[in-house]
Symmetry: C2
Subunit: 151 residues, 2 copies
């Protein structure tokens, strides 16, 4: 007889669940701070990929952001409207575009990040250095988990 599924859950599942829940709640919290930058989280994330990753194709950005291309289209459109990125023709392929962050986009990324994370950073200041090191390492591990393909 299978044991009650709610009793003594697999510790790995508990951990997976905890990461899921923690991510949801942290993001909901950060969304509110994001408001001050004038950019939504998805746009800020996409912009920062272009700023730090350098010029890239639209499909590259979509892949990095792990979304389908139709999802990225309006995000890029908004960034272009705000003058944060420009698109240039790809000299090697007339179907494709190269995205490039403008100086304004670079500046806003830096400022925006500073503002966006100011509150969290302030809270982190009260977190013991050991716990901060744990969070730092955890962020790397989470990115790896997110990047891994389903086997």
């Amino acid at each position: 007889m299978p044991r009650d599924a709610t009793a003594r859950p697999d510790p790995l599942e508990e951990l997976a669940d905890a990461l899921h829940s923690a991510s949801i709640h942290l993001l909901r919290r950060l969304r509110r701070e994001d408001d001050a930058t004038g950019l939504t989280p998805a746009r800020l994330s996409a912009l920062s990929v272009v700023v730090f990753g350098g010029p890239m194709r639209i499909s590259d950005l979509a892949r990095t952001e792990q979304v389908r291309t139709p999802t990225i289209t309006p995000i890029i459109a908004a960034l272009e409207t705000d003058g944060l990125v420009v698109r240039e023709a790809d000299p090697r392929d007339a179907r494709a575009w190269i995205l490039r962050a403008t100086p304004k986009g670079q500046k806003l990324t830096a400022q925006g990040r500073a503002r966006r994370v100011a509150r969290l950073a302030a809270q982190l200041r009260d977190v013991p250095a050991g716990d901060r090191a744990i969070l730092r390492r955890a962020a790397v591990l989470m990115q790896e988990l997110a990047r891994k393909d389903p086997a």
Copy 2:
């Protein structure tokens, strides 16, 4: 003259940014696994709060989920339609409702969680025990960061 904002950012801001980015990507990844449960992440999260937290008011659920009440209304409606929670009149306050998870809701939470986290749990199995401990601790820390009020 202020130094270039993109050079040598505050390590605390870097950490905040890393957590933000890691949460975005991990959630986008988990969303795909969530599909198998038939419930969206927000609904699954709300249901699991009711299942594990026991009967509660709608406003309690909204507060726990850190959203406004209008956000929770359609989420509850969907869970009711699916027979996963029921609402009962609050005997102490005719304006309020008490939410209670049904047995079906409890079962689905357990199954859903197992399914949802199966992939992540499988990946976690390949993560060294030391790193798993870091993630476990990080999840707790992130929840605390999310819960803290802006000072």
